[in-house]
Amino acid sequence: MAVRREKAERLADEELMPLVGRKDPEAFEVLYDRHGGAAYSLAYRIVGDRAAAEEVTQEAFISVWRSGARFDAARGSVRSWLLSVVRNRAIDFLRSRAGKAPKLTFDDDAALEARPAAERTEEEALHRETAAEVRGALGNLPGEQSKVIELAYFGGFSHSEIARILGLPMGTVKGRMRLGLEKIRGELAEGLA
């Protein structure tokens, strides 16, 4: 039996997932309302146009709806899991659309600040704050490190493809990926200290 929307809204993501697994549309709707924006934003960042991003987001959420029981809380948050599903779907889409180049910019502060105030719920505000820190961390990376990370994560390129694109040895590409992630991680740790 479906839970009432009001009750679902009070549940944590991890509590919603078993309900989604039991095909509760109210629980699923709350999940979408919490993370649909981030999911769509990620899909748009990867595929680069609105129609395709909506298609990818819809496919990802439907796959979650129909396989929600597969979420494993031991491996991270619902949001991270959900966004990884979106990312994989988007990369699949990119690969099926030969010749599509990924966007490679991170200039998004203005767009974020321009969002309507009504959308800035407490949770949203928290995400925005976190995102702002992250953008700072990414923005603080040397360009050579952020570029290989962006090509891999948002472009779906392998390290050997990136090496070919940038004319670098593969070891250099992997080394820059490592240094970049370590730097982001270090800044996150400092922020938590």
Binding site: E29, G37, S84, A111, S158, G175, R185
Partner: protein, 227 residues
């Protein structure tokens, strides 16, 4: 392992987390990770950095129609599931044109290919084992009580963005088996089916990471389960 050996794995770890290793390299890394606590620890340390990447993108607003379309599909699923409880429902996935030939062929192969061991299928608490070979793929289904273990041998290595997903057909309904799985370096793959009650057919397909809501390609194996 000396420090130099470990540095090699350590360097690959970031590329692995970013999905940037080739399929064979990713499989090698996963095997290494299984037995290397140091790399597991490094991975746990780096994962939060990876998880921040999708949060770093420019925020975009999806159209309200996306939500409407999504919820309409979800509610249609609920209605369809309710209507399926009525007799005479169709076996939708088995009738998909792209899969029709494989289904027919494998169902026939299943009938002639079974070997039933260890006491047959009676419910006396013993395990029932079904084995058969199809195109170099050895399939072993061990059923004990209500649960079963599906073991595959000779499975090809998967790209890093693909997983194996098992499906069961029960009373005409197709259900995804919750645990996704991948083959090990020797091409062995195994998954557990918690509830074998009423399962008539077991099938495995290759699906994108995160799995699919229904099979999207031809099965790499499919077998009937005798009642």
């Amino acid at each position: 392992m000396n420090a130099s050996d470990h540095n090699r794995w350590s360097e690959d770890l970031a590329a692995y987390l970013l999905g940037a290793l080739d399929a064979d390299e990713a499989a090698t890394m996963e095997r290494h990770l299984e037995g290397c606590e140091r790399c597991q620890e490094e991975m746990r340390w780096l994962e939060p950095a990876l998880q921040t990447l999708p949060e770093a993108v420019e925020r975009q607003e999806p159209s309200p129609q996306l939500r409407q379309t999504l919820m309409a599909e979800v509610r249609a699923d609920v209605r369809e599931a309710e209507s399926r409880s009525a007799p005479g429902r169709s076996r939708r996935w088995l009738l998909k044109p792209a899969m029709g030939f494989a289904v027919v062929a494998l169902l026939v192969a299943g009938v002639v290919g079974y070997e039933v061991g260890n006491g047959g299928s009676d419910a006396g608490g013993k395990a029932t084992t079904l084995e058969r070979q199809v195109d170099g793929l050895a399939v072993k289904m061990v059923q004990e009580g209500e649960s079963g273990t599906l073991q595959l041998s000779g499975v090809h290595q998967l790209p890093p963005d693909k997983v194996l997903e098992a499906w069961v057909e029960r009373e005409g309904q197709v259900e995804a088996v919750p645990a996704l799985f991948v083959p090990d370096r020797n091409g062995q793959a195994e998954t557990r089916i918690a509830d074998m009650n009423g399962v008539a057919v077991v099938m495995v397909t290759e699906e994108p990471q995160g799995g699919s809501d229904q099979p999207t390609g031809e099965p790499i194996m499919q077998m009937e389960v005798p009642s």
